[in-house]
Symmetry: C2
Subunit: 426 residues, 2 copies
């Protein structure tokens, strides 16, 4: 690949609904990812409505400041859909009727037993000199146009139409302007705070234009996004990202639970299946979230046997066999009750492992001794048990989520340790 000039790119999302408080352009995130894979960066994103003057001015300014414009939306059949017309007007090019295209659009309707509404005829007009990008999932065709000074891509708004069209028809046009080979990796981490991670890997922050590291922080989970470029070869790009990944893994060790995209519940599910272990859960403050996350994974019935949401004391006593005196003595939110809940659900479900969560999710119910965010989590197995006392910050949602994350992570670390022990014994 010869070194080439980097193209200046603008993504323009068109539609008055995108200027209300209710809708947001998300297509540009997908497009940016794809462009980054080609070694290309986005310089501007513009959102503009259906107003003719605003739209025409946006197009004019975009043409003057960038090499590539990717415009999204406004290709539909209604009066509000003016993207084709606005580009044609600003570029001073004609819209030319395309009979073949009309037949294709009519065919789509016929296929569904419908006749094409007259308004859709509009969609069979093509800007003079443009190439049609086929739409497998809708009637609005896309367009590719190279004016010499600008490359213009028009894409439909619905993501399920835009995504395949971009990958199949628009991307090949951009491919020839690809300047760099690229590679990417996402590391997911739990059990360390963002500032702790920062301290551990501060000196690894790449001081190279070919490498980028971005840290995204969520409650209970941190992600490190790595990306690399190479002018030379894919191999070099891969090696660059791999080297950085290896260095980070050495520092963060088992706190990294995924380097290939899996969610924590998938990692835990795989470990349970691999180790031929089953799990049951007793939930108080998480209220079902733990079961919900475990069962988000297809095939989880292989290892997830039973969940009990025991919100009240009565439910803890009747459904989990927790002794009333224990609750009276230590309170429902206590290490003792957490452990009794874990033992109770394990016996009831006859599972290998069990988890129990009891805490105060708020916003009310906290006391100076037992504040909102105090959560006890117990893990029990055939030969023992483990307990964690946590103090989570945030609102009810966040406390519930962090509790479920911590609970799943306790299973993960327990099974990973088991694996190591077995290896050591061999």
């Amino acid at each position: 690949m010869k070194p080439k000039k980097n193209l200046k790119i603008e993504i323009m999302a068109i539609g008055s609904e995108l200027l209300t408080p209710y809708f947001q352009d998300t297509n540009s995130l997908f497009l940016t990812e794809r462009l980054n894979d080609l070694g290309m960066e986005v310089s501007y994103k513009t959102i503009v409505g259906d107003d003719w003057d605003d739209l025409a001015l946006s197009i004019k300014q975009a043409l003057s400041r960038t090499d590539v414009i990717i415009a999204i939306g406004g290709l539909g059949p209604t009066q509000d859909d003016r993207t084709r017309e606005a580009f044609a007007t600003v570029l001073e090019r004609k819209l030319i009727f395309n009979k073949e295209l009309l037949q294709k659009i009519e065919g789509r309707f016929k296929h569904r037993g419908l006749s094409m509404p007259a308004v859709n005829k509009k969609q069979s007009y093509v800007i003079d000199g443009a190439e049609i990008l086929e739409n497998r999932n809708g009637t609005a065709p896309g367009l590719w146009l190279d004016t010499g000074s600008n490359k213009i891509i028009l894409l439909p708004g619905p993501p399920h139409e835009l995504k395949p069209m971009f990958d199949e028809s628009a991307c090949p046009h951009l491919q020839e302007f690809k300047t760099d080979y690229t590679a990417r990796k996402v590391l997911k981490i739990t059990g360390l705070t963002e500032s702790k991670i920062d301290t551990l890997i501060l000196d690894l922050y790449p001081d190279s234009p070919y490498l980028r590291m971005t840290i995204l922080s969520h409650p209970g989970q941190i992600e490190i996004h790595l990306s690399s470029h190479s002018k030379k070869s894919q191999e070099q790009a891969d090696k660059r990202v791999q080297k950085l990944e290896t260095n980070i893994l050495e520092r963060l060790k088992e706190n990294v639970f995924s380097a290939s995209g899996e969610e924590l519940e998938e990692v835990v599910g795989n470990l349970l299946r691999l180790n031929k272990r089953t799990l049951a859960v007793a939930e108080s403050c998480t209220g079902g979230l733990l079961g919900h996350r475990l069962t988000n994974v297809p095939g989880s019935s292989d290892y997830f046997l039973l969940g009990v949401v025991a919100y009240s004391n009565k439910a803890k006593i009747n459904a989990l066999g927790v002794s009333p005196s224990l609750i009276e003595k230590y309170g429902a939110v206590s290490s003792q009750v957490a452990e009794a809940m874990a033992q109770g659900i394990r016996e009831k479900a006859r599972s290998n492992l069990s988890l129990a969560v009891t805490g105060i999710a708020g916003p009310t119910g906290g006391t100076p001794e037992k504040p909102v965010g105090l959560v006890y989590i117990a893990l029990a197995w055939d030969k023992g048990s483990k307990l964690k006392k946590n103090l989570f910050l945030g609102n009810r949602d966040k406390i519930k989520y962090q509790s479920s994350q911590k609970a799943l992570d306790m299973v993960r670390r327990h099974l990973a340790k088991n694996k190591k022990k077995k290896r050591a014994l061999k």
Copy 2:
């Protein structure tokens, strides 16, 4: 209020992270809502990075095409934060050191027992002629500047800093340009499809520049957003929206579950509390989501007694008392098993009401007779029971969500009907 010219507004989000696939500007949605409340519309949204030339050009073009620019971000202490400098340069105005501001920023650090890093001094420079907007939650001050031809508002990026600053300090400046009184309302609906709703209210679509109706469709829930304007008075704006609301309610009746923002689980919770009824749930394919949603509502322990996630046949038999022969004869996904699960959990929890959900969430496990998306939901109470057979579309997530929504809605309709009966008896 005298009639005034409508201001042309652009929101500009500044920061290179907003040009990656990982971050999205959400502040503009909040700002748009607030501007709409003032009777103002947004014409352009621009997203630009830290590159000096790109940023300066964006500012220049925004100044030429709009009356008001609200710029977000780039007010921090680091080298990448160039919003103040870029606006000052394009406007050909000086940045003037403000001693008082420096003392305030130093004070923030001192308060936390820290000394101010030298880089933060940068934040105490103010564009000549601008007014400082106080930041209660961070060090970056905002700015308000009226150049005669443009009104410029600079706000910090973090939402918890931006929101109070806009409401307390920026909004009062815009208030005097308020052209209209406005009112808003959101109706939430479940149990009708979007096309059914469209048919029912098609002729109610307002043919007035003073009223707007937007339908947002989610799986299992449709929202109708109503907004109105009046040049005359708040009362007129309120009346306009109320009239439209009344007309819609007449058509959609009890399918509207909320007209004041509550989620379905809150509405159900309030009805349970009001009717002094308790609830228990037995979940198979929803896997805990139903319990999770019920317990997202603070105080839900008042009425939510017990949840059991019985994913396997064994769990259905052991934990819910479903007879093995029933499962063998009809299958775990059947109306008979759903009803047995509902009876089982009701007896176990001694609750007034109970829900049971069993179905095939996919992606695998479907057959021609029992396809993915087939979900049976049973509601049981002291004097009877009710069963719904559903065929939901979408992926695993969406099928789980729609199942939980339908189940909650069955409780809502049951209790609402009860209420009506009681009224009739009086």
